[in-house]
Subunit: 208 residues, 2 copies
């Protein structure tokens, strides 16, 4: 027999559906909410119910953005920002990557979010990614950048996607295609590094 | 400028109010919800909104229990279960401790949840805990158990609470008061153990 009231058990079950939250963590979170005298659970519930309301994709870069009722063409905060450098487009896999790059404050250009990488195993081909909209964007002379940065991850699928994109972008001969530097992470210890990273760091060494 | 739509930022902020969930974890959870095509966020939101609805305290043991409309006296699942041994009462600090003990399947008696421990620093005295209702419960001859188990934590405040309760329970001379065994945890390594636990394990040693 379960010693928990149904409402508590339901909440624990729902929370433990989240990735990385097991039933024990969910239990601890729910009991923290029960102990809390503030209606924090209501605040969270309302925020979650509103999460996907008025949420769409930027018509230009496919980042998440707020939709406006009655308007079909919407742009995200980055594309809306007139101070951004329109001559550089950074291609990322997911909106989370865009946010990570934004946090560095090192990049002032625009983005293009693919929403995934090529993955034949998971039936993700070029059609499933926002690649066609990228070439359409580059066909538009007003939008044509000088440089495209491939800011993809370091795994095999991302490498394959980068290769595919480089081929696709060959027809835009005026655009320089670059990729993120690979090397030793900041604070990284040489003798803990894998051979791939270390040899790449050696090959890509730069003058002091 | 924030590169995130307001609804996403609100959801991240709300989730990171939970204990143990920082802004990075909250971000990861919210983006997992956004990626998920199932309306998991609605399921969670509904469960959270229902969490404290129809939730009360068991009139006997003060565990969480479902309230029934129009009825003021309600009992939790454990107290309701006729197969439980009414001759033993296990005193715990929080409902979470009750659940932990239930999971061992070693205990078949009843409970009494104090909802805290004595803590003068946090202005928690005997009046703030469910101690009076415990003595009232023991005064009732129908409810009088043969044994009371103090299943409190191993810290100083819990020890003080145990001492206070032992004094309070002295007037019920027919009731045996016991406490949980202290010693080496299962799978514990002797040389990693603190001195307090090890000396307690030595003192409380038992015949093979």
């Amino acid at each position: 027999m379960n010693s928990l009231p149904k409402s508590i058990q339901n909440a624990i079950d729902a929370l433990s559906d989240l990735p990385g939250i097991g039933s024990r963590s969910a239990e601890r979170l729910i009991f923290a909410l029960l102990k809390n005298e503030m209606p924090l659970e209501e605040k969270i519930a309302k925020a979650l119910l509103n999460l996907k309301k008025n949420l769409g994709e930027c018509e230009r870069c496919h980042h998440y953005c707020e939709t406006i009722e009655g308007e079909s063409n919407v742009q995200c905060g980055v594309c809306h920002d007139f101070s951004r450098d329109k001559k550089v487009i950074c291609i990322v896999e997911e909106p989370t990557d865009l946010i990570a790059i934004e946090k560095t404050h090192e990049y002032k250009g625009l983005y293009h979010v693919l929403h995934g990488v090529l993955s034949p195993m998971n039936k993700v081909g070029p059609e499933q990614l926002r690649i066609r909209s990228l070439t359409e964007r580059l066909d538009n002379t007003d939008e044509k950048p000088d440089e495209i940065i491939l800011a993809l991850s370091g795994n095999i699928e991302a490498d394959a996607t980068a290769l595919y994109l480089t081929n696709e972008l060959k027809k835009f001969s005026t655009i320089k295609v670059t990729r993120l530097a690979r090397g030793i992470p900041t604070g990284g210890d040489l003798d803990y590094l894998d051979i791939g990273t270390l040899s790449r760091a050696m090959l890509d060494r730069r003058e002091f």
